[in-house]
């Protein structure tokens, strides 16, 4: 017989948000905050806890860009690639980060500290170029400024 290992975090989040369908996304969001991504096992456990099919949970999770289903770093850098930021030097910021962290767009550092991604408009067009590191926006970026910001995160 299959032994079910209790997923304490999933249980705790279901207790917090509830076990109805509308609790699903808040639970998945909190799992991403905790683990930086949704593992297959976590999605299966959420499905069991909420009495949904695992496919349904997976289907919902993969619809949303911020509900990552691939392992990400502790700090997820999302650089805005939409027109205003693209016009105001997004590529230069991107290559500066790639150089400092020694990783390419879409990758995570081997120590799982940083992931580097692009994202669509984050609502800071008047202060382009902009990026998010986890939930924090950084705007009016220059190579110097982004170097300084990353230095702080590397120290953390």
């Amino acid at each position: 017989m299959e032994t079910i290992i209790e997923n304490e975090l999933v249980k705790e989040l279901a207790n917090k948000h509830g076990r109805t369908r509308e609790s699903l996304i808040p639970i998945l969001q909190d799992l991403v905050v905790n683990n930086r991504f949704l593992s297959k096992q976590d999605m299966v456990d959420v499905a069991r806890e909420l009495d949904l099919s695992a496919a349904d949970v997976y289907g919902t999770a993969t619809f949303y860009t911020f509900l990552d289903t691939e392992p990400r770093g502790k700090y997820i850098i999302r650089i805005c690639k939409t027109i205003s930021c693209a016009m105001k030097g997004k590529n230069e910021i991107l290559s500066t980060i790639e150089e400092i962290l020694k990783l390419n767009l879409g990758e995570t550092t081997p120590d799982r500290k940083f992931s580097l991604l692009e994202t669509n408009c984050i609502g800071w067009c008047h202060k382009a170029p902009a990026m998010l590191i986890n939930d924090t926006p950084y705007t009016e970026l220059t190579p110097e400024k982004v170097t300084e910001i990353l230095r702080e995160y590397i120290k953390k």
Binding site: S84, G123, C125, H126
Partner: protein, 386 residues
Amino acid sequence: MSDKHVKRVDLIFEKIKCRDVLKKIIDMEPEAICQEVLDSDLKGRGGAGFPTGLKWRFTSKEKDPIKYVVCNADEGEPGTFKDREILDQVPGKVFCGMAIAGRAVGAKMGYVYLRGEYKFLIPKLNEELIKFHRTMDEFNQNFRIQICLGSGAYICGEESALFESIEGKRGEPRNKPPYPTTSGLFGKPTVINNVETLVHTVMIMKYGAAHFKELGTKDSRGSKVFSVSGDTPKAGIFELELGMSVDEFVQEFGDGDTKAVQVGGASGFCVPRKKFDETIIGFEGVPTGGSMKLFNSTRSMYNVLHNYLDFFTEESCGQCTPCRVGCQQLLKGVEAVKRGDKNSKYLDELVKLAKTMKRASKCGLGQSVGNAFGSIVENFKEEIIY
């Protein structure tokens, strides 16, 4: 040069005592509130421009004992950032607007759907929400608000997709009808308004419909918060009277070399220099949720178009074929023309495809891809081909 000028307004960000407005509306009949908003001719500030008073009246007429008010704070249109600023500076006014809508239609529960990119606002909003609920208690009102967070899907700004998302599902738009006023969130009659629209209703209840109508034109009453970005020395957020021409706007915000203005974001229209004077920014001309992007002569309009198509290809929910396949084909198509693999006549085929998308797509996303596509291809054909 025209001697008219752009008029600044300060209503949305005006610091007011919301509890005075709340006190006033609690004593009013719901029907009177709907009528005041109807009289103002306020149209939705999210972009689609549906008359707010009508939305409220339709919902108020529904017999269902459970109704909802939803604040659409899923501001994702490229070039729009006014709602973030409103939520940051005057969150109490947003909640106040929701309470007014709740009173008008008979809803006891409100939801704010905040885009995931604005999660940093949550602590501030929660703090303000506690104050709001305290005021409601004081006035013996049982209207309550909950904040829901999005997770990076542009399509969830479409109202029915937004409901699906709050309900815990993929943010796929529903078929319409039924409209939200009869069957919205959890299948219940729902008023869904943009952040700015709700704040306008607060000011209408405070100063009256007549005051609101003093500004603007017959088709576009009042003022509007604009998000200005691109090639401009004055990027930022500006509340302006509606009814100005693109020319007047460019005189105020341009850098002296403006060749095009994209009004209404990626799903809006591109206005070229030769049409600045004749084009009114508003529902009689080019409507906008607030996004105003200026491009000067150093910019390649091919790059602009490519950026937009790339955006739509990623953000299309994939549910209906015209949008899912159409976005991809438009993107591949302009790339092929640019490379020289297809001749310039092929652009006409692509314009036809964009028109098909407008007619056949299920929701506003697929229906509006053709706006930017058609207007950029028509006015800057040579930049796409060469």
